[in-house]
Structure formats: structure tokens, C-alpha cells
């Protein structure tokens, strides 16, 4: 399971490197984090390395920043991505900039792990996909694992990375199952994965939307030959893989659950216009969330993000069927 894979990555990295420690609300003996990612870690490593904090997001991230600047490798947990707003100065003005402003004298090897996404009927302050904010902020790496294998491999790479990394997990994926190898592996940051091969349409899809896009591609198989790409890290973005695919298919659809307006999809389209304009047969499209706070009531919530049928319709429309 995705949640287990994350737990294993933390165990392995903490075992490998004594400078790695965890900090966050409810993550220690009291709970293992609300999504149980850190279950058992306090027993294993003690509360000196699994540091449970009061509800003080600014202090959690600030502590991680200060510790990273002084030689440790903190992994901070923000319980829901929505709550990162409370520590935003520490993320955007401190973590993202310190390395640069110090002329490279200060390294900031820290990871902020946080779940995002919708689908759990938790309304507007517990259902956001805020990745675009961080893609827009120079100085951060932004990682979004969509599979169990990547959850582990990318978290390990993120912890080993020397810069600040925002590691965005997806709540709907925590219990996703997948058979994975035994033992250790890492997935390098900045390498996309082709999840399905095809030659008529390239779909770039992130996190939970990847799973919807794969379902949609399956549903139109035989009609439309769809290539599905999982960028895995939004910053750095593996534009080469996307460009190579566009050379083959000539059509680009980006799918994510975050609002389309000013979103990551728009960024992929911009880059595609620069790198692959001559291959494109039609205008690229982005399918994403509505420009509304996420509503609570199920029929409203479902209407606000692309569903498999929306993706199917877009796929057909783009190849003229």
C-alpha cells in the first residue's frame, strides 16, 4: 500500500542516516499521523527523532528550516495540504529562498510531506490541491507520487536531495495496492514515467487524475490510442519525455484535479508550445478542477473535478470522434 511504502521509505532513510528526523502533529506515540504514515516510527526511533508538536504549522516548518540549515535532514509533516497556509511564510519566503539568498552557503535539505486532493467530502478547507502555488515558487522541488512504487522511491530521493522538497501525497491513494519489489529502491527526481503507450494522443496526468486517465484510456482503447504520462515530479519537470511523446502523437491533453485556472496544466501547455509546437496537430487542452472552493455535498464535489467520463469525452473530442 501507498501508505506503507511511505512508511518504509522513512524507516529506511532514518536507519541509513542519523541526521534524518521527523516533525509534525500527532506523528509520534500519540498517533502516527492522522493518515498513519508514521505508525511505529516513534517506537523504533524514539521521540527524539519523531518529534510530535503542538498545532503550530509555522513552528513546524520553521523548525525544519532551521534544522536543515544547520546540518540535519528534517522531514516535516503537514497534516493536510490546506494547513500549509498557516506556515506559508516559512515555506515561500524562508525555505524556498535561503539557499539562494545565502549565495549557496546554506544548504536546505528538508522535505515537507503533505496529503492533498479531494474526494473525501471534507469541504473547502480540507480538499485542496495546491501544487500550482509551489510550482510557481522558485526554489522548491515539487514531487507528486501517483503509485505505490513511486511513493517509496520518490520519498527516498526527496530525503536525500539537498534542497527543499515539497512532497505531495494523495489521500485517495493511501490505501492503493500494488505489488512492488522487496527491499530498497529510489526513483530519481525529474524523470517522468510512461504508464501506457499509444500514438494518437498524449495525456499528462498527475496523482489521482492519473488513475482516472488510465481508466479513461482503457475505455477508449480500440477507438483512440492514448499514451499516458505521469510526470512524477512537477519541478523539475521531465519535458523531454513529454516532447518525445508529442512527436509521436501530435496531441496533448493534461489532466489534474487542481483548478485549471493558472494551474500546472497551463504550465505544461506553455512548455509544450515551446518544445513541441511543430509536432502539434491541434490545440492542447487542460482538464482540471472548477474555479470554485470545493463544496461539501457529494453531487457538488463530484461536479467540480474531472471524472473518468469527462476524460473519455475529451479524448474522443481531441481525435475527432
Amino acid at each position: 500500500m501507498y501508505v506503507q511504502a511511505l512508511n518504509e521509505a522513512l524507516v529506511e532513510e532514518m536507519g541509513r542516516d542519523a541526521s534524518v528526523f521527523l516533525i509534525g502533529e500527532d506523528i509520534g506515540y500519540s498517533g502516527g499521523g492522522v493518515f498513519r504514515v508514521t505508525t511505529g516510527l516513534a517506537d523504533r526511533f524514539g521521540d527524539g527523532r519523531v518529534r510530535e508538536t503542538p498545532i503550530s504549522e509555522s513552528a513546524i516548518i520553521g523548525t525544519a528550516v532551521g534544522a536543515a540549515a544547520t546540518g540535519l535532514r528534517p522531514v516535516a509533516e503537514i497534516m493536510y495540504m490546506d494547513f500549509i497556509t498557516c506556515g506559508m511564510d516559512q515555506v515561500a519566503n524562508q525555505a524556498a529562498k535561503i539557499s539562494f539568498m545565502s549565495g549557496g552557503q546554506v544548504r536546505l535539505p528538508l522535505v515537507i510531506r503533505t496529503p492533498s486532493g479531494m474526494g473525501t467530502r471534507e469541504a473547502a478547507q480540507h480538499s485542496q490541491s495546491l501544487e500550482a502555488w509551489f510550482v510557481h515558487t522558485p526554489g522548491l522541488k515539487v514531487v507528486m507520487p501517483a503509485t505505490v512504487y513511486d511513493a517509496k522511491g520518490l520519498l527516498k530521493s526527496s530525503i536525500r536531495d539537498d534542497g527543499p522538497v515539497l512532497f505531495i501525497e494523495n489521500r485517495m491513494l493511501y490505501y492503493e495496492k500494488e505489488s512492488v519489489p522487496e527491499g530498497e529502491w529510489v526513483v530519481p527526481l525529474g524523470q517522468a514515467a510512461i504508464r501506457r503507450e499509444g500514438d494518437q494522443l498524449t495525456v499528462v496526468a498527475t496523482a489521482y487524475a492519473l488513475h482516472k486517465a488510465l481508466k479513461a484510456a482503457e475505455m477508449v482503447a480500440g477507438e483512440v490510442s492514448v499514451e499516458v504520462i505521469d510526470p512524477r515530479t512537477l519541478v523539475p519537470l521531465d519535458m523531454e519525455a513529454i516532447t518525445r511523446s508529442l512527436e509521436k502523437t501530435g496531441r496533448l491533453l493534461v489532466v489534474h484535479e487542481a483548478p485549471v485556472r493558472g494551474g500546472f496544466g497551463a504550465e505544461v501547455v506553455r512548455r509544450a508550445m515551446e518544445s513541441a509546437f511543430e509536432y502539434l496537430d491541434c490545440a492542447p487542452r487542460v482538464l482540471g478542477g472548477a474555479a470554485t472552493p470545493m463544496p461539501y455535498s457529494p453531487p457538488l464535489e463530484d461536479a467540480c473535478v474531472p471524472q473518468v467520463e469527462d476524460i473519455v469525452a475529451a479524448m474522443r473530442a481531441m481525435v475527432g470522434r
Binding site: 500527532d26 469541504a123 470554485t292 461539501y296
Partner: protein, 325 residues
């Protein structure tokens, strides 16, 4: 019945309504008719009830993620509250808000909040607005032990004290924040003492004693209405249920049992019987009336339609995004 007798009985009625409402919410969540983050108020009824009894209808109330009781005690409509939790179009927020986001400007309810500690600065604004307009309204700001560790707590108390805002801070210290015991997050067990840092009164009361809460909050309200500024009332209470429906935490069974012994409703029933304000028959009557109110609220909600996505007022729902690109 004397005015005071009516007030006491009214408080008992409110506590029943909250308790039965919450018990029903728990069932409905189990039946998948209520979803998401739902935080029950069982065991804390005396705090909202006592505090709101000290407020006027036009006073403001800033609520939290655990706010069903605040809404009902402030005079919120039980049917619209239930309809909101059930995601219906007739709910307070027409299905947009849900459990954590109950708003009713008619009764001064400025919303629950899914962000712990975020209500404290908002309360400043409501109190400032009252002061600015020369109104004698006050703002009651509810929060809990966990929220007292957010920076917003300190920023809010500091500014309210500086500007002598008509604010009453009501801290519901229920000993846990999600899975973490307050002993692991508070360097001192008492939160009310922090008031001293801002030069405002801080008191601690038994939060399971509705009359004690009423008296303490009344004093703070009088002070605020009189232009003397904010106060902090810490109500020591206990969260009987888990943090939310899907997340409990380990609690010492003895601790839990001891607090169940101190059930605020049973304690108050006993007191009123002893005082001769009510008789056993009145209790049965009040309870069945409250149960009927809850039953009716559920029926109302269930008979209400879900909101329609067409009403979101958006041209750009996902399907349309493709078409309109």
C-alpha cells in the same frame, strides 16, 4: 416559574438538543448519510450552552471545527443544521459547507472553521466592527487547547487587549488535540494564565458545570459590553468521543470513565431536581421534546433535495472546460 428558573430549564433543554443531535449524527455518519470531517461535541454541551446563555442573539460567535453545539446553543435552526450536515440544499450553506462550516449571520454565527486557530483573528474583526459602529455587541470566540498553540492565539489576544475589543475568548480545554494529549503540547496545564501576558483577566471554570460557565462568561460579557476589553475564560472539560469519526486516540479507560461520571447533563439534572426547579416528569418531557426535534430535523433533511451542480454558478465545470477551451 421565575426568570432564573426559566433560564435554567432553557439551558437543560439546549443541552439535550445538542446531545441527541450529536448521537444521531454519529448514527448517520455510520450509515454514510453524513460524510467527511465530523467532530462530535458530546461531553462539552455545558460550555456552549452556558456561554451562549450569557450572550444576546445579536452578539457574534466565532466557532470551530467542533461547532454543532455552538450553532444550536446560539439559537441555530436544528433542521437547517442537520440538512447542512446531510449535504442538502436546505442546509445552512446549501451543501457547500458541511459540518465544519456552519454560518448563520441572523444569529451572529460567523462560521465554523476547518483551520485550527483561524477563527481567533476573525473574532478580532467582528469585535472591532462592533466597537467601530458604537454598538454594544460582543463577540464570543470559541477555540480549544490545541488552537491555543497557534500563533493566531497570541496575535489575537495581544491586539484585542491593546484595542480593548469587546471579545470573550472561550477556551474549551478538552484535554486532547486530535490524538495528542494536552500534557504533551502545553508547558503549563492551564491556558487561562496566558491572559496575564496580555494584561487581561483570565479565569478557569469547570466546563462540565453549565451554571459555572454561564456565570464566568456573563462577567466577561459584562466587561466587554462595558468597553473594558477582552477576557479569557478557560472551561475545563472532556471530549467523550474520538477526535472525529475516523480518528480516535488512546485514552486511559479510567480517565474516560471518571469524566463520564461527570456528565454535564446528568450533573445539571441532579442540581435542578434538588433545587426544585424541575420534577422528574419535566425531565422526561424535556428529553422527549428534544428527541422529537432531532427526529424532525432528520426527516426534514432527508426529505430535502441535494443541491444541483447547475447551481454552483460556474460556467467552467470540468466538462465545460473542455468544450470551451
Amino acid at each position: 416559574m421565575s426568570d432564573d428558573g426559566a433560564r435554567l430549564v432553557g439551558m437543560l433543554r439546549t443541552m439535550y438538543r445538542i446531545r441527541f443531535f450529536e448521537e444521531r449524527v454519529k448514527e448517520l455518519f455510520g450509515q454514510n448519510l453524513i460524510w467527511g470531517g465530523v467532530h462530535l461535541y458530546i461531553g462539552q454541551e455545558a460550555v456552549a450552552t452556558g456561554a451562549c446563555a450569557a450572550l444576546r442573539r445579536d452578539d457574534y460567535l466565532v466557532s470551530t471545527h467542533r461547532g454543532h453545539g455552538h450553532c444550536l446553543a446560539k439559537g441555530g435552526d436544528i433542521r437547517r443544521t442537520m440538512a447542512e450536515l446531510m449535504g442538502r440544499d436546505t442546509g445552512y450553506c446549501r451543501g457547500r459547507g458541511g459540518s465544519m462550516h456552519l454560518f448563520d449571520p441572523e444569529i451572529g454565527l460567523l462560521g465554523g472553521n476547518g483551520i485550527v486557530g483561524a477563527g481567533l483573528p476573525i473574532a478580532l474583526g467582528a469585535a472591532l466592527s462592533a466597537q467601530y459602529r458604537g454598538s454594544d455587541q460582543v463577540c464570543a470566540c470559541f477555540f480549544s487547547d490545541g488552537a491555543s498553540n497557534q500563533g493566531t492565539f497570541h496575535e489575537s489576544l495581544n491586539l484585542a487587549a491593546l484595542w480593548k475589543l469587546p471579545l470573550v475568548y472561550i477556551c474549551e480545554n478538552n484535554l486532547y488535540a486530535a490524538t495528542t494529549p494536552a500534557s504533551k503540547t502545553l508547558p503549563l496545564p492551564d491556558i487561562y494564565v496566558r491572559a496575564a501576558a496580555y494584561g487581561i483577566p483570565g479565569v478557569s471554570v469547570d466546563g462540565n458545570d453549565v451554571e459555572a460557565v454561564y456565570q464566568a462568561v456573563s462577567q466577561a460579557v459584562t466587561r466587554a459590553r462595558g468597553g473594558e476589553g477582552p477576557s479569557l475564560v478557560e472551561c475545563k472539560t472532556y471530549r467523550i468521543e474520538g477526535h472525529c469519526m475516523v480518528l480516535d486516540c488512546h485514552r486511559d479507560p479510567e480517565e474516560l470513565a471518571a469524566w463520564k461520571e461527570r456528565d454535564p447533563i446528568r450533573m445539571f439534572e441532579g442540581r435542578l431536581l434538588e433545587m426544585g426547579v424541575i420534577a422528574t416528569d419535566d425531565i422526561a418531557e424535556l428529553r422527549s421534546q428534544a428527541e422529537a426535534d432531532v427526529r424532525e430535523a432528520v426527516e426534514y433533511a432527508q426529505a430535502s433535495p441535494f443541491p444541483s451542480a447547475d447551481d454552483l454558478g460556474l460556467a467552467d465545470l470540468p466538462a465545460a472546460v473542455v468544450a470551451g477551451f
